[in-house]
Symmetry: C2
Subunit: 134 residues, 2 copies
């Protein structure tokens, strides 16, 4: 696989959980929601159409697989999937488990209030169950 | 193709532009951003993983194709792609052309202020150029 450099801000805001076929699966440093991220391990990808058709398909399957596991583990009402990239241009796809009445419901989580760090026990519990479900 | 019923709120907030292989391509009734939507013409789809793998792949290709046309036509800085569904559960994917300094920049558009209707000439111009680019 060619060299892949993770954007500095993504590196600071997230922790690597595992590598899938195409993407790194990373945990967002914000415990207000179960919030994970897929980052294709490719250089120079900004928009979805910058990827090859095969990589696009891989991203789709990894998104679906990860979203299903996230829903199963959290029992949430809805998975939010988004690739915005206004602040960080390296392509990254958010997956967030949303439940009625959560801190930003029914609005989006991006830009809402301040991140709340995970405590170690809760993070270990969540990430263990998520990786088991994958 | 089996019967497909569009959610009432999506029908009210958007206008059909064209039908692609899987999705309806629809224009959002908000001229603050070039903002379009893909809705797979399938019944009972809420999450991306509710679709068959083939439909997921179709959605991906239609997303990439539409995002590329939207960027080409608008010259925007970044395409935002998102499937949230907190308010409307029928699966729908937003594509929004974002530019530095726009009304919500760098935050998300969802839930930001009040929609501003298109005037007829601007809508015709935008949609004609978008459909030509597709």
């Amino acid at each position: 696989m060619p060299i892949f450099n993770l954007d500095e801000r993504l590196a600071r805001d997230t922790t690597l959980l595992t590598r899938l076929g195409l993407c790194q699966l990373r945990l967002m440093h914000d415990s207000r929601w179960p919030w994970i991220m897929l980052v294709p391990q490719r250089e120079g990808i900004c928009e979805v159409f910058d990827m090859t058709p095969l990589d696009q398909t891989m991203l789709t399957f990894e998104t679906a697989m990860t979203a299903k596991a996230l829903k199963q583990v959290t029992g949430c009402d809805k998975i939010n999937v988004g690739a915005l990239g206004n602040q960080v241009r390296q392509f990254h796809q958010h997956l967030i488990a949303r439940s009625e009445g959560d801190a930003a419901w029914p609005g989006p989580v991006w830009g809402h209030g301040e991140a709340r760090p995970w405590d170690d026990a809760a993070r270990t519990d969540f990430t263990t169950r998520l990786l088991d479900a994958l």
